[in-house]
């Protein structure tokens, strides 16, 4: 103490060391670093949540429409003369459905128009009627009301997914047009738009003074090109109407003296550009409809209240279809279920047995080390490689059939095994050694300690690993594509372990590839369903973990 007093104030003593400015700065910096670390974490969590939110909202936004279908009620007479009671599936239901539909439009009589009108009805409508009759054979001879779906474009139109009209001109065409606008050469006369251009009547284009045979198109092109000196494409050429040359020709024919002079001509625009110039927009009928009549018929049905919106049970209970309004996931769900069943039955016992051997029995040798390292690495092998392996081994060597859930499940099991083994080993390692000692201490043998004490305690971890592995397998696409598990299965009646099938992710893959507008929302809806299965599986994993977990 006396030493401290003896020292000069401000000296580096233990008492004042923590009060120097440098020390205070250090403290401030340390606090700032702590806060920064926290903000980095918050930032990345926030980013993840935002991205997840975007993913889900876009999926829901584009997918929710698939859960609703527009249907029209048809009153159909199930004519006993047409439908054979013994074999009700064979009748001409297409004709029945169409004729019932045509009664709403008695004024449409010509075969051409009827063909067009018939396209408003889903191509799957006859099957809906047929299935109804097969399910209710006692109603043959009755007048029945059956709701059948509209075809995809009309379904989408009714749900407001696609517009009646679309922009006739793409953005870059509009940009080309705006060049003219900026130059101020556009003007409208008598409800028609023109480009004011100076056309030089080039004597070189008038062969031997024959004004009749002169190439006026070339002269107009020359003049018009001056507006687009820097354009790389010749897309602007479609701006002018086809008959611009005749306007010039008429002028020159009237006054042959104009040859060699430059005249100002009003060049008419082609149809869409003309609309764009006069009204500021150019629309055409959505090409998914064949003519305005389609829309008129649709509006008429709508006005009469014949169209109703229903929940799309087909999405869950129908198998795949070429018609989006009838396509469903039941085939894919069945296929996925069968494949996952095979995957679970193979990977769960093999995985646990492997993990228990490696963790509890295997001697520490170079071989077991090698196996261990390889199992850990297998968990990181891209799934497509497992698909190739399945293709090479199961299909080519063992000669198992293509596209079947058995092989799909086997390939998925290969993929799931490392996950289960790693998770099981971690769970076994986490069982405190005191439990094993207690077991051995009362004279339990090795297998008794394993089965009675260690495995039950490791079970939550094992189950979690297994369910996460299965959830991964459920979402796996590439290996299934390689063994052909993306078959088109329009009916689930004959599905089995050795029958061709598709799975949820491959179904999504093939729908995503389809051009019909309805498959866009169907794809999103299928992804939502896949995600909800994954969420359910993970929730089960969490529940099981908390349920089975015991404290010690």
């Amino acid at each position: 103490m006396s030493d401290a007093i003896a020292q000069a104030p401000g000296a580096r003593t233990r008492e004042n060391y923590w009060r120097t400015n440098a020390a205070k700065r250090r403290v401030r910096r340390r606090y700032a670093a702590d806060r920064r670390l926290q903000y980095y974490g918050l930032g990345s969590i926030g980013l993840a949540i935002v991205l997840l939110g975007i993913l889900f909202s876009s999926l829901i936004f584009s997918g929710y429409v698939a859960f609703f279908t527009t249907k029209i009620g048809l009153t159909i007479y199930l004519d006993p003369n047409v439908i054979d009671k013994a074999n009700p599936g064979a009748a001409n239901y297409r004709k029945m459905a169409r004729n019932a539909f045509f009664t709403y439009f008695p004024e449409v009589t010509s075969p051409m128009e009827r063909r067009q009108l018939g396209k408003s009805l889903s191509s799957g409508a006859p099957y809906v009627v047929r299935n109804y009759v097969i399910a209710h054979p006692e109603e043959i001879g009755d007048l029945v009301d059956i709701k059948v779906p509209l075809s995809d474009p009309f379904d989408q139109l009714s749900k407001g997914v696609i517009p009646r009209e679309i922009d006739a001109l793409s953005g870059d065409r509009v940009a080309l047009f705006n060049v003219l606008k900026r130059r101020g050469v556009l003007h409208v006369e008598n409800d028609k738009a023109y480009v004011k251009a100076d056309v030089y009547i080039n004597p070189g284009d008038v062969p031997e003074g024959d004004v009749e045979a002169a190439d006026y198109q070339r002269m107009v092109d020359e003049a018009f090109r001056t507006f687009y000196m820097r354009a790389h494409s010749r897309a602007y050429e479609e701006i002018l109407s086809q008959d611009v040359a005749s306007a010039v020709k008429a002028r020159v024919l009237a006054d042959p003296a104009l040859v060699g002079k430059t005249i100002q001509v009003n060049l008419p625009l082609s149809k869409h550009y003309d609309n764009l110039a006069r009204t500021g927009e150019a629309k055409v009928l959505n090409p998914r409809f064949s003519s305005e009549k389609d829309l008129q018929w649709f509006d008429s049905l709508k006005k009469r209240g014949l169209l109703t919106t229903h929940f799309t049970w087909e999405l869950f209970f129908n198998a795949d279809s070429r018609f989006p309004e009838l396509a469903g996931l039941s085939g894919a769900l069945t296929g996925s279920f069968l494949a996952l069943l095979v995957c679970f039955l193979l990977s769960f016992p093999i995985g646990i047995a492997t993990a228990v051997y490696l963790e509890e029995f295997a001697p520490k040798t170079r071989w077991t080390d090698f196996i261990e390292v390889n199992i850990n690495n297998l968990a990181a092998v891209p799934s497509v490689v497992f698909g190739l392996l399945g293709l090479a081994v199961f299909l080519n060597v063992f000669g198992l059939p293509r596209s079947v859930p058995l092989v799909g499940g086997m390939v998925l099991a290969l993929m799931t095994l490392p996950t289960i083994i790693v998770a099981t080993r971690a769970a076994l390692k986490a069982v405190p050694p005191s439990i094993r000692e207690g077991g051995y201490g009362v004279g339990a043998s090795k297998h008794q300690v394993m089965l009675h004490h260690v495995l039950p305690l490791a079970l939550p971890g094992i189950l979690t690993g297994t369910i996460i592995g299965l959830a991964q397998a459920l979402g796996e696409t590439a290996p299934l594509l390689l063994i052909g598990m993306n078959a088109f299965i329009p009916s689930i009646e004959n599905m089995g372990l050795l029958q061709p099938a598709m799975a949820l992710p491959t179904q999504i893959f093939s729908w995503a590839d389809s051009p019909e507008r309805g498959f866009v929302s169907r794809t999103s809806a299928a992804i939502l369903i896949l995600l909800s299965f994954l969420i359910i599986m993970n929730a089960i994993a969490v529940y099981l973990r908390q349920r089975v977990e015991r404290k010690w």
Partner: protein, 276 residues
């Protein structure tokens, strides 16, 4: 009560009466030239130690001196440690524990063990105790098993405390109760020898006192070997004490002798607190 449990009870009575009239009993365990290696490292050097029946033998010594290792040789618990090798001869009841004909499971049935940290199974109190008799086939019926559980709990002095919650998890008990549950679990298989590896080091003084009382009670019927760090505990509960140092058995004798009149300087230094 059926024949087996009657025999069980009779044996208890008999041994109890024998214990009271003799202080120095025949040796339950004899060990000759026991050495233990962990890989290349030798942990115990030629231990010769005889342990009397129906008495408490305390093994004391500084940390890492090999007393726990020796204890674990007696029921071949060291088998579960990879790379651990035991040489020499250990006889329990005149039978070599390394005899290839001897089943290690049977040995561990005859030699119960209580560990440093209470380690009840994460099951009910009943199941904790019933587990040993069940795997050894000691009970022929459900009532037999209940009999064994009740008597074990009683012998461990736990019955009155847990009577009403015998089907509740054993892990819900206090530390001291858990340790006594582990003792009850060990005696449920009717062992001849009970090994205790620092059974009180994780307990508070009151729980320690209870376990010590229990040990005192149990020594009437069992041969007990206890490893302890507390010299007071060794002095309180044991009749004989062995002092280990750096893998060597330095001195062995009656507890009174070791603590009042040690012959080796190292023993004296240790018990007077000069090292350890």
């Amino acid at each position: 009560m059926n024949d087996q449990s009657k025999a069980f009870t009779m044996e208890m009575d008999k041994s109890g009466s024998v214990a009271s009239d003799t202080v120095m009993n025949p040796h339950k365990v004899t060990s000759r030239k026991v050495s233990v290696f962990y890989g290349l490292k030798q942990a115990l050097f030629d231990i010769d130690l005889d342990i009397p029946d129906r008495a408490v033998m305390a093994l004391i010594g500084p940390s890492g001196c090999g007393k726990s290792t020796f204890l674990r040789c007696l029921n071949r618990m060291n088998d579960t440690i990879p790379d651990c090798r035991v040489t020499g001869e250990i006889k329990v009841d005149g039978r070599d524990v390394h005899d290839p004909d001897l089943d290690v499971v049977e040995l561990r049935g005859r030699v119960g063990m209580v560990f440093q940290k209470p380690n009840p199974f994460p099951k009910s109190i009943f199941e904790n105790i019933a587990y040993g008799p069940r795997i050894h086939g000691l009970a022929r019926s459900k009532s037999d098993l209940e009999e064994i559980v009740i008597s074990s709990l009683e012998k461990a002095g736990l019955l009155s405390e847990v009577k009403d919650r015998i089907h509740e998890p054993g892990t819900g008990l206090s530390g001291g109760q858990q340790q006594r549950l582990c003792i009850a679990r060990a005696i449920a298989v009717n062992p001849e020898l009970i090994l205790m590896d620092e059974p009180c080091s994780a307990l508070d003084p009151i729980a320690t006192a209870k376990v010590e009382e229990l040990i005192d009670e149990l020594k009437k019927n069992y041969c007990i070997v206890i490893v302890t760090h507390s010299m007071q505990q060794a002095a309180r509960v044991s009749q004989r004490t062995a002092f280990f140092h750096l893998g060597i058995l330095v001195e062995e004798g009656s507890t009174a002798d070791i603590f009042t009149n040690p012959t080796d300087k190292r023993t004296q230094d240790y018990i007077t607190g000069r090292f350890g």
